[in-house]
């Protein structure tokens, strides 16, 4: 059993290493970006093998999906070939990389053995609290969701603030703000596939509702299975990205307007933080969901997690779509 797992691990690792070396070697940036997508997807598989299903889900949606889209979008606006790396850069780079590696391998000599149940990580009282007591305290079968949204809910608020920051920053750097409202469908940029692409349009139309439905399923099923606000937001955004690619930026901007997105981006964060403010006003600590329903704390936890995850989903979806619009819109102008 454990032997098979090692075989799978090593096979996946071989793919990862090949992809990483490929990225280092190729001078075509398109290939490098696609290899990075492959790297992410393989990473996600490795995470599944290591039981981190939520992380795998996110990695696949973000690393292989959104991030690749953004890389390709950038390459469409810039050069796709790379100059030969001057050797003067290689030696110091190699020294730093090897130095870091040596330090890490030195560290690994005293790291607890891999997957050993006697590890400090597994022996700490946290483990019991999260895996057992959480059932009485929070009552959410997916422990990752319980920890993410409640025990370490403040980290997750920070995470939403990070993605909000990225949205604001990219909007500030690339956004077409005001005065330059949604382009008419006729001026759709590269990527808008008009006319003869009937197959694509039909399939895209057919899939769209299911993608959005799946996003909602992931959003609300996060208590019981892998998923949650973050993954749902990215999937929702992926649906809109698909729509934009097939029908053009103009149409997409008419359906999901940048104005609405610019409202939703802060609203998600405000919703999350607002739950915290509400618990403060109800006499609890910041983000103490028990205060939402003093008679039945578990009910309060459920309500809190639901609202907080909704906040995550809203901000993430808005940020991802805005990021994509910002890159795609830049192409339309230049």
């Amino acid at each position: 059993m454990i032997g098979n797992v090692i075989l799978v691990d090593i096979a996946l690792f071989a793919i990862l290493l090949a992809a990483a070396l490929g990225i280092a070697h190729t001078r075509s940036l398109y290939s490098a970006a696609m290899l990075a997508g492959l790297f992410s997807l393989t990473c996600a598989s490795l995470f599944v093998v290591q039981d981190a299903v939520d992380v795998a889900f996110t990695e696949a949606a973000v690393g292989a999906g959104m991030s690749t889209v953004l890389f390709l979008g950038t390459l469409a606006l810039t050069h796709s070939r790379e100059r030969v790396t001057p050797p003067t850069r290689r030696v110091p780079a190699l020294l730093v990389a090897v130095g870091t590696g040596v330090l890490l391998i030195y560290a690994s000599l005293d790291l607890p053995p891999y997957a050993d149940p006697a590890n400090p990580v597994q022996q700490h009282p946290l483990t019991e609290r999260y895996l057992q007591t959480s059932q009485q305290e929070i009552g959410v079968p997916n422990v990752v969701t319980a920890v993410l949204a409640s025990y370490r809910g403040f980290d997750t608020l920070g995470e939403v603030a990070v993605i909000f920051t990225a949205g604001v920053a990219v909007l500030m750097l690339l956004g077409r703000l005001r005065g330059n409202a949604a382009g008419s469908p006729g001026t759709a940029p590269a990527g808008g596939l008009q006319g003869e692409h009937r197959v694509l349009r039909v399939v895209a139309k057919l899939l769209m509702p299911f993608i959005l439905l799946f996003a909602l399923y992931v959003q609300f099923h996060g208590d019981f299975g892998p998923g949650g606000g973050f993954q749902a937001g990215v999937i929702f955004a992926a649906g809109i990205v698909l729509y934009t690619l097939v029908f053009g930026l103009g149409h997409a901007r008419a359906v999901v307007t940048p104005g609405i997105l610019r409202m939703l981006l802060p609203l998600g964060l405000l919703l999350y933080a607002g739950v915290g403010v509400a618990t403060l006003l109800l006499g609890g600590a910041f983000l103490d969901y028990n205060a939402l329903s003093p008679q039945d704390p578990v009910q309060g936890q459920h309500l809190g997690i639901l609202l907080v995850e909704a906040g995550v989903g809203i901000t993430v979806a808005a940020a991802m779509i805005l990021l994509f619009y910002a890159f795609a819109g830049r192409g339309a102008r230049s």
Partner: protein
């Protein structure tokens, strides 16, 4: 309400950021940022005052107790930093209104204020938290917003500087993440006090690597020589208000985070025993003093000159705490404050020059003293503080540092402090020489009067630095308390 102060002072700027984006007008966004900084400042002072004499206030986020959830722990060391950071934000807010309106495209201003709010949130969050991973999350909030703040500078070099800052900063952040991961692997916890209780003894190789990774990661964020390459571009090219804010507190917060890891999480008995941190820190610190000051002498732009000088000043701070003595730490904390005030005043001056002259190139300053007497008077007074003239704030903290070094018989480092102070005379003197004694070059077009708000901030900072130089009893006592809090073991 007072019980919730630790959460509120971070929460208010965090709420302010989305509010800025929703309101979408420059004035409203400015008002939100200003109000949020003022609230944080008041709350921070409230925390400093309500702090029990030798204790700490802890606040459990979500009501989950220490190792299970995230707790904020406020003690003498970080209450002091909170006042510093939020105070810098207040100064920036008053200063920014005119400065940003002049330097940023009008329809992007509200986003700029949102980024300032986020940067403030991140910095306050790093300082307040008692959780190692939470430090990483808020460090990334402040870093990401800093990259954006820098990128909006006027010239295209700002974009390039921001990109370099982003790459280097992310490496630093990821190194910190590796270090936290190694410490987590050894203990199973992320809470700083719990880490201190559970970490293994000194001979563990993973522990040594964890300290090394965290040290390197945060040294990048604080621009310690030789990891300083990102800073001159970032501070030199950023819009004036952002330069002021970042120079006053961004690298200082990284110093604080490193102190928190070394003294509270790993504990002095581990961190200074397994690695020769005293020697490394003194070496890097004195290198930073000399390199920073020497490079500052070679600059042709006032903002870049000040940025290089900041690299040098970080050297003093690092040399202080590397001694791992009470006096050394006290000197570090004192210099953190004094340098923040002085450097903020100088960047405020540079911002006024940028506003009226279009740039802060040194040659453009030739003979301008007669025409901008107040501006250059402020520059001179703050510059004297930077050198460390007696009766200025800079002298107080440098003197404390020299005393701490002498107590440990580190004569070579004392020499480095003196040499770098002499170099500071050279680079401040150069600016003074150009502004006072050179013939004005080119056309003498009229210079419009400088907005009152910017002058006000500049003079408030200059006067504060003078006060800190004349009456150092209160800051010295607070810095001493901060040093006690860190040396008193785990929180």
């Amino acid at each position: 309400m007072t019980a919730n102060l630790p959460a509120l002072q971070v929460l208010i700027p965090l709420l302010a950021a989305p509010l800025c984006v929703l309101l979408r007008t420059p004035n409203a966004a400015w008002a939100v940022f200003a109000a949020a900084s003022a609230c944080s400042f008041v709350f921070a002072i409230g925390l400093l005052l309500t702090l029990p004499a030798a204790g700490s206030i802890s606040y459990a986020m979500g009501g989950w107790p220490a190792p299970f959830g995230i707790v904020y722990v406020i003690d003498a060391a970080n209450a002091w930093m909170l006042v510093l950071v939020s105070g810098a934000a207040v100064a920036t807010a008053v200063y920014a209104r005119v400065s940003i309106a002049a330097e940023i495209e009008a329809r992007r201003i509200y986003l700029y204020y949102a980024c300032l709010c986020l940067c403030l949130t991140g910095l306050l969050g790093i300082v307040s938290t008692g959780d190692a991973f939470n430090i990483f999350v808020f460090l990334e909030i402040s870093s990401l917003s800093s990259y954006a703040l820098v990128a909006m500078g006027r010239s295209r070099r700002a974009l390039l500087s921001a990109f370099q800052y982003l790459v280097v900063g992310t490496i630093g952040g990821t190194f910190l993440l590796i270090g936290i991961g190694l410490a987590y692997a050894l203990t199973g916890t992320l809470n700083i006090a719990d880490l201190h209780a559970r970490l293994p003894g000194a001979d563990n190789r993973a522990l040594i690597a964890a300290i090394a990774f965290i040290g390197i990661g945060l040294s990048i964020k604080m621009a310690l020589v030789p990891l300083h390459a990102w800073l001159p571009g970032a501070y030199g090219e950023a819009p004036s208000a952002a330069s002021l804010f970042l120079a006053a507190c961004s690298t200082k917060v990284a110093v604080y985070a490193l102190l928190r890891f070394l003294f509270s999480a790993f504990g002095i008995e581990r961190s200074f025993a397994v690695l020769p941190l005293t020697q490394i820190g003194l070496l890097a610190g004195s290198l930073a003093m000399l390199v920073g000051a020497a490079m500052a002498c070679l600059q042709t732009d006032l903002k870049r000159l000040l940025a290089w000088s900041s690299i040098g000043q970080i050297g003093y701070i690092v040399a202080g705490f590397s001694l791992a003595t009470h006096d050394g730490l006290r000197a570090s904390f004192l210099h953190l404050l004094n340098h923040a005030v002085i450097k903020a005043a100088l960047f405020a001056v540079a911002g006024m020059l940028v506003l009226r002259l279009g740039s802060a190139r040194l040659e453009a300053l030739a003979g301008l003293r007669q025409r901008l007497p107040l501006v250059f008077a402020a520059l001179l007074l703050a510059g004297l503080g930077l050198i460390g003239m007696p009766l200025t704030a800079g002298f107080v903290s440098k003197w404390a540092l020299v005393q701490a070094l002498i107590a440990e018989a580190q004569w070579v480092i004392v020499g480095a402090v003196l040499v770098s102070s002499l170099l500071a005379v050279v680079y401040v003197g150069r600016v003074v020489e150009i502004a006072w004694f050179r013939e004005p070059s080119g056309a003498t077009t009229a210079i419009a009067p400088i907005p009152l708000s910017m002058q006000l901030v500049t003079w408030a900072l200059v006067l504060l630095s003078l006060w800190l130089g004349l009456d150092s009893a209160l800051p010295a006592q607070l810095a001493g308390n901060a040093a006690d809090a860190l040396l008193g073991g785990p929180r």
